[in-house]
């Protein structure tokens, strides 16, 4: 109860003392590896995801360096193929999918709900171990002889190539189950663990985002599981389900794969919507515009995402009828997405916009995601997709959405919650510089790819005809800037861990529950179950206080 009243002097019955928080509550490596605390599991995810991001990013820089010139630049064709495969697989399965839900969501969700933990803490820890096991299999593939199938594992190439595909598939399979269990855990938590008074329409939109994501994780990821399992069995024993040489149907594999992987795209981006919906109102100091439209559009996206997988297959030999249905529904899904963007922009109207680092990332998200979104229109329009699919236009489109959308939102979220997670403020100037570099790098890397893609440059090409070289050079330079931006950002964040905890309880003046407890949070989160009486974006009661470098409640000040 004290945790909900004042900031500094937290007198906590359930917790040990003022300096006691989840980071210091127990000591030793075992207390981390065996922890059931959602906050610690989140931190462990965070370390893993960032490491995987560094690995995937290194692959990306090698790819871009190779593509500086046509023909061989630094590696040969086979190595290049392995590089882009692992770049894709690592970024998708190890970074973006677990990124926001598992690394940030794990920390924030129970706090947003006023709960002590997620519904199944042991399952939560198991999910993390499955992540680690999946990552180990991926690395095994890398060390033995890295898979060269592309992250899509299309048959029959994946059943016939001589590289170590099975470890990579096994890794993805296990990671899939890690993701399923996280989603399952979140759904139950949101349904059963909300604090009294916290009705569905008082939930922060981040929770809605995670909820929609979890629905897709639970419904779609098992199909990935069975697909990869069948592919493993196909490759190991030759059972003839996907391999045309044995009577199988390779297009069937694509259906299976995209039945998961299209929802997976939304698994990656919908949590990002949640993060942005948190950041924009806080830094505009104004209620979020159109709460219910944003909340329900997330759920709409989750459901519709299951009906559009065939738009990846317009030229695969899929029938015209099936293609038309998929195309039509794809246009439909554009609408809830557009609604969100418009609502976020409207939120800023008559606000008081503070351009702190998280807000810069959010604005960057709006910019980049809009471009990523509208270029999706070219690809859902069937006649233009025939020309554009499997070219760099697609590469640029999904990097704008995934890298520009999901990853910038992830970094925005990291900056936003960093003071809460670790109790330390980062250097604002470095944060801002990092975000600007990322923004410049991002656009310079991927915008030229739209141009060369529409001009006919196919994707996954090691070699290319010389007329595309200027675009490739620009793109590579952009990639270096991008890499540098992430590097200084990460270094700046890590540096904060070596100083004393200095973050106030509520540095941004947010009104969600996690900001009503100390930074970093106590071991048991809330001493008394909070009772919620209003929505998450009401800022009238919060007032900035220079002395503590954060916000405090007017009502409590008046009361005491």
């Amino acid at each position: 109860m004290a945790s909900t009243t004042t900031t500094a002097d937290v007198a906590v019955p359930a917790n040990k003392g003022a300096d006691d928080n989840y980071l210091t509550h127990d000591k030793g490596i075992a207390s981390w590896l065996l922890t059931l605390d959602h906050k610690r599991i989140s931190v462990m995810y965070f370390i893993c995801v960032i490491s995987a991001f560094a690995l995937g990013g290194t692959f990306a820089l090698l790819i871009r360096t190779e593509l500086l010139t046509p023909g061989r630049t630094i590696v040969d064709a086979d190595t290049y193929n392995q590089l882009f495969t692992l770049h894709g697989a690592v970024m998708v399965f190890l970074v973006i999918i677990p990124g926001i839900p598992a690394a940030i969501g794990n920390f924030v969700l129970p706090l947003h709900l006023g709960a002590k933990d997620v519904a199944f803490p042991k399952l939560n820890l198991m999910s993390w171990y499955m992540w680690v096991a999946g990552a180990c299999f991926m690395l095994t593939s890398l060390i033995v002889s890295a898979a060269d199938t592309g992250w899509t594992f299309y048959t029959p190439y994946s059943t016939t190539t001589l590289t170590a595909v099975i470890p990579a598939l096994t890794g993805a399979f296990i990671l899939g189950f890690s993701s399923i269990f996280t989603g399952l855990n979140f759904i139950v938590t949101i349904h059963k663990m909300r604090a009294p008074g916290l009705t569905w329409f008082r939930l922060p939109l981040f929770v809605w985002g995670l909820y929609s994501t979890a629905i897709m994780q639970v419904l779609a990821t098992p199909v990935l599981g069975i697909t990869l399992l069948m592919l493993i069995v196909e490759r190991a024993f030759g059972i003839g389900i996907f391999d045309p040489a044995l009577g199988g149907d390779p297009v069937l594999f694509q259906h299976f794969f995209w039945f998961y992987s299209h929802p997976a795209v939304y698994i990656m981006i919908v949590p990002a919507f949640g993060v942005i919906s948190e950041i924009i109102p806080v830094f505009s100091r104004k209620r979020l515009f159109g709460y219910s439209f944003i909340a329900l559009s997330s759920v709409a996206i989750a459901i519709l995402s299951f009906l559009v997988w065939g738009h990846h297959m317009f030229v695969s030999g899929q029938s015209v009828l099936a293609g038309s249905i998929f195309s039509a529904i794809t246009f439909l899904i554009a609408i809830p997405t557009a609604i969100k963007v418009l609502n976020w922009i409207s939120t800023m109207y008559k606000g008081a916009i503070h351009l702190d680092t998280p807000m810069l990332y959010a604005l960057m998200f709006l910019w980049v995601f809009t471009i990523g979104g509208v270029t999706g229109l070219f690809l859902s329009t069937m006649a233009t997709d025939v020309h554009l699919t499997d070219t760099y236009f697609v590469v640029a489109h999904f990097h704008y959405v995934m890298m520009g959308g999901a990853i910038t939102a992830f970094f925005g979220g990291v900056h936003y919650w960093w003071p809460k997670i670790f109790g330390r403020m980062y250097n604002e100037k470095t944060g801002q510089l990092g975000s600007v570099l990322v923004f410049i790098g991002l656009n310079l890397t991927f915008f030229p790819q739209f141009i060369m893609g529409s001009r006919g440059m196919p994707r996954r090409y090691y070699n290319y005809i010389p007329e595309f070289q200027p675009f490739h050079v620009a793109s590579s330079i952009g990639a270096y800037i991008l890499g540098f931006g992430f590097l200084i950002t990460t270094v700046s964040l890590i540096k904060t861990l070596f100083k004393k905890a200095d973050a106030p309880m509520n540095p941004w003046g947010s009104n969600t529950l996690e900001w009503t407890i100390s930074s970093p949070p106590p071991y048991y989160n809330f001493d008394k179950v909070p009772h919620v009486t209003e929505g998450p974006y009401e800022y009238e009661d919060w007032e900035y206080n220079e002395k503590i470098g954060g916000y405090e409640r007017k009502s409590l000040k008046a009361g005491t």
Partner: protein
């Protein structure tokens, strides 16, 4: 904590503060359902031997299987007494399975000729002198 943890609608088996949770099935009901399932198993085997033709026998087999599944779900799995949310979630998953199979069949029925043509050509080629 959560307001959803209200007492079950059927108070008798619902949770009192320290009392039992849920509802125990009576032995008679359990055995009755079991007998029903056995009868339907016999019936489906019997029907399959009647030579109804591929279409009809497939439908009959699926209808019987679905009745059996209904019995297992509603009684053995408690769905009859359970929270409606669980039923909704479980049945909802079948919706997605139907969607998955339905779209695949839509596609398959259209491109089947392309496969058949190729298979016929390959056959002709491999038997050609």
């Amino acid at each position: 904590m959560a307001q959803e943890t209200k007492q079950d609608a059927h108070g008798a088996h619902g949770a009192a503060h320290d009392g039992a949770i849920g509802h125990a099935l009576s032995p008679a009901l359990l055995i009755g359902i079991w007998l029903g399932l056995m009868v339907f198993t016999g019936l489906t085997v019997f029907m399959s031997q009647q030579g109804l033709g591929p279409q009809a026998s497939f439908i009959v087999a699926m209808v019987i299987a679905t009745i059996k599944a209904g019995l297992v779900m509603s009684v053995f799995m408690h769905l009859w007494w359970d929270k409606r949310m669980n039923l909704f979630v479980f049945l909802g998953s079948f919706l997605f399975v139907m969607l998955f199979i339905g779209m695949l069949l839509t596609d398959k029925s259209e491109y089947k000729p392309d496969i058949d043509r190729k298979t016929a050509d390959d056959l002709a080629k491999s038997t050609a002198p």
